[in-house]
Symmetry: C6
């Protein structure tokens, strides 16, 4: 068990710049073993935050990327055929409940309802996980905590968490880092000069203003790190920005023209 | 069998505050072995009530969280491959019928029709469960009772119980506890002062008035316990309320502003 | 075979109060081995009638609760893996055809088309059941008869029997028992005084008048037996009626008020 | 092979009254091994005709009731697990092609497209059936013929045979027998007096005039045989007609009144 | 391998009457190993043409009738359970790629997208077939060629080949043979006199003019061969034409009257 | 491992004509191991470019043609039954991550969401692939890179990459080569004279102008190579162009007439 837990422990401190009081608040939620929901747009650092907290709390972290074809068995476990019989294989949620890990269900809204319902008994006063197919009832390890992420931008009538699921979590709002902090992140992650980082942040903020005016989402910090890395590698800044910041996110000719124009203005 | 029943017995008295005559009425329903339907919004204490009754009646409790991907086999049982042959594994409903447990199907409306139809012969004068795939007809243990929960707020034309299912149950209506009772619950569960509990209840009732005016559901007692625990742990009351009561249940900016304003007013 | 047939034989005479000439007409249909369709609203006694006829005719009865996830294999049978090979397991319809039972398919409209088509060769002059997957053609036992139930209230364009299925059955119409008869049933089943039974029937008829005016179905005789049992057990009549007759069937506030008002008037 | 063919041979001459030249025309189609499509409303004698022709031609008959859940494997065959390996089991179509039977696919329109496409190579100049999963190409036995039935009344945009399937068959139109013939059939099948048979036919024709005016289909000859049998058994004619001819086919109160009125008029 | 290829070789020259330069053009496409798409209405000779070309080029031919339930595994192959382990079974496409056959996918539009995508790497410069489930990459035999058929009459927004599939094929248009040629075909295939063949062609052309005016498709050459065979067998020409040309293709009373009238006029 | 990598290495330099700075930019992206998205219409050379880059970088290339029936298991791997137990078989994505290949997911938009979500942990700072079903976490080989292709012409509300996927890639735009370059490609690939190649390019550009005016897509360079090969083989230029450029891409009579007219004009 200890050995298995070690395999999921974060080896090195992940690079994380706090945006507010979120670190202390998460620690309080963890002390009370409250299930946590992390909300925010794509690429703003939600997964990095969870990774950082797991490192800071010294707990193993098991991450699952949810998707609409994932079944409850993918989370809980299943029987494998072996040597003429069957062997039970714990799923990632079961493993986390057994070894006392933080279980992080990324983009939970994508999952089918059987996935979301399966976490209910783990997220109320019972803190148990019934393995119906195995006829076993697991009591969660005292260190176990469930964390889910949620992008409100995708929320729709068709695909949203039920209130009976939502009302099991304490929630944290995330957004893109404010300008100075984001420039620091770019400079640190890509190894570029502060002045270049600042220009990229300026460009990113221009693009984020287009959200809802032709862009579905703003440009993520992740893509800005891509652009910074390409420029540091010797690629022409305008080429790097087009390739990393514009081409991936839109095919709309007008939006592209607007963004290309901004690139030329900022890197002229 | 006795051993198996013991595994499902509630060890300690669950904390439960009666809202009315529901305990005596449930006992009468159980004496007549009437199937019971527990109705009410999320997080108002339905599951806790069933757990409490199982403890009070001294009967084992088997809980199943229903979901739309659950099949009749998940309830009744299935064959497993083993040692070159197959072995039958009872599902939770079958186990309950054999050992004389209270079987609690949580959020039955979520299940597919094959699940709901499977309970029909167990809920009329026959009290039998045919295991068609095994060719066995189980007569329910005299102590067996079926309990289902049902959230009328989710009821729609597309997803509702059929009348031929509904008309097999005696029904109990639940709602959030009235103010004094709810404050007692918060004080007891989270270990906070009565005065703080009262303020949280006041806030919860404000939010519940928004149901149907921008909120799908009111704030559950469960979330209010979360907030109380965080405050007791030293978190600033406004932070705790935003994180436990507001952020999880809505992304609507107006509703958030209204609720944040109420928090500031109550904890000023 | 005899042994298997005995397992499905009704041991004791089921309590059944004839509503008209249905017993003699069913006997005539059985003498001519005509397939029979029993029509009527939920909880009016269709299943009890079939059980009674099986007892009166001294034939085994095999009942199947149909549902939309039931496959033809669930009725006919399937291969099971066993000891390195496969073993055929007869389904309930096949068993009935072999041992000469009455096979009762409850709520046939719920089943998928493959279920309904599978009964065609058993319900015309051929009286055979081809087990395609086993390569066997079963000639039905001379005592075999097929009975199906059908609730016209559910009939819709999307879900109805095909004419090519309907035109294989002689049909019986059922409805709630008339008042005197229903009171006798309540008194007998729940052991209550005739006067109380009469009041409950009066209440039930009030509710049935609301069908189509806010209620999908009338109150079944079954629920009225529930209420009678609770009252006999000492529950306050108004509590018993609300719990057994009103709360299960509607969440509409107006309808509830109307029914609660009727309860108060009748049990004042 | 001969043994298997015998199992599918019709033992006794089926009772069949020719409506026109269909027997000679079917013989010509069979001599040229043309695939045949038999069209007409439910219960008018299509299946009986095919059975009769198989008897007259002295060929085995394999009948398959098609349904929307039937797969190509149900027709062609599949591998079964056995003794640590797999064994191929021919489906009914494959058996028919091997032994030279007439294969009758009843209500082909109900089947999914993979069923209908599977018959294509058997119904053109190739007369082969590729068992893709077995890697075998079967050349049909010289006696093999494919016959399908088709009810034009069900034909819709959503569910119709493709022209590429239709244009592989010679087609026969069927309808209810004309009055004198139908009365002869009733008298012969149910053993009733010609005068009673004539009255039932008169009633049947009244009902058939309502097709398209509230009835989806006319009353089949099969149901009229039911009514005749019940009357011969001593059941009151009006009861027998209501039970066998009216109740099974409609729940519409007006249509029922019209038909009940006709019954009273004819049997007064 | 040679043995397997022989099993798929066309033994005798198929009867084929060229309509234009299609034989020489197909030979050029085959010399350059261009994938070929054969377009045209049902029953106009597309499959016969492909069979003829396979015979003329002396290559084995593997034909697959596509359908919407066919999976990529049905084309490529799958693992079978055998003797305690698994054995890979090549699908028809894989076999064709290995032995250098012409693989003919009939009615490709019917197939699901995974089938159509599976042919992409076989139809560009790579000429490979990855067996992902087996971890093997097959280089197509130099003689391998892919041919698909396509009926533009079925083409709709919902079910059409993607441009990324279409743009991998050279295409041949087919239509019904012109009158003299079609009469020759009827006379040859059915062994009837040229004068009768000419009358049938005249009737067929009348019917084809109704396409789009009540008929979905014209009458195929195949059905005209049916009619000719029945007449040669002694069936009355009007009976034969109704049975082979009219009844199979339409149930519309007006269209039937028009066609019956044409039959009477031509065979009077 | 080395051996397996060699199996996926490109043996000979693929013929590729650069359209701009894409080769140098891809090299920079690869040096920073940025995931890459290649955008453009069908048949414009996207796959050839990726193949060329794999050859130039000296890395193995594993290509997967995505489709809507492909599951995450098809990419990641699955258990096979073997010798009484199960054996894990790596999928192509897992193999690529282990051996340090470039993994090219062609037409990623066709895949279901579980496929696209599965690549998330491989395309951020983690560079890991969790094999949930095996309980193994693979750290990608330092040489591993993910490349996807994307045809913006297919993009729709129903089927588009999520922003949380898009924002993980640097993107390259592709289009048909400009005229001189495309003529060089035709001359080189098909071995035709420059003058003929130029005429074909002229024809192709005419057709591309019809995109959006009756044509869904322009004519691909691939089809133009087909036409050139047929002409070099002796086929009449007009026949070759109709067969390779017109017939495959449209059945619209007007568009065909326009294109046929252009062919006659250019090859007159």
């Amino acid at each position: 068990m200890t050995h298995q837990a070690d395999a999921y422990r974060i080896k090195a401190e992940p690079y994380y710049q706090a945006q507010g009081r979120e670190v202390a608040l998460f620690e309080a939620a963890y002390r009370n073993r409250l299930p946590v929901m992390v909300k925010g747009p794509t690429g703003c650092g939600k997964s990095r935050f969870v990774e950082y907290m797991a490192w800071k709390l010294g707990k193993p972290l098991i991450t699952v990327a949810c998707n609409e074809d994932m079944t409850a068995s993918d989370l809980v476990g299943r029987y494998l055929l072996e040597g003429g019989g069957t062997r039970w294989l714990d799923g990632p949620l079961t493993t986390a409940a057994r070894i006392g890990a933080i279980c992080y269900l990324d983009e939970i809204v994508e999952a089918r309802q059987d996935t979301t319902v399966v976490i209910h008994p783990l997220t109320d006063h019972r803190r148990v996980l019934p393995l119906d197919k195995k006829g076993e009832l697991i009591e969660a390890h005292p260190d176990f905590q469930l964390v889910i992420s949620y992008n409100p931008g995708y929320q729709s009538l068709m695909k949203d968490l039920k209130q009976s699921t939502k009302q099991r979590f304490a929630a944290f709002d995330f957004d893109y880092p404010e300008a100075t902090l984001e420039a620091t992140i770019l400079a640190t992650e890509a190894g570029v000069a502060p002045e270049l980082a600042a220009r990229l942040v300026q460009l990113g903020q221009t693009a984020r203003n287009l959200k809802g005016h032709g862009l579905d989402e703003g440009i993520s910090t992740r893509l800005m790190v891509y652009a910074a890395k390409l420029i540091r590698d010797g690629v022409d800044p305008a080429d790097a920005c087009r390739m990393a910041l514009v081409r991936p996110i839109t095919d709309d000719a007008d939006i592209r023209a607007t963004l290309d124009h901004a690139i030329d203005a900022i890197f002229a």
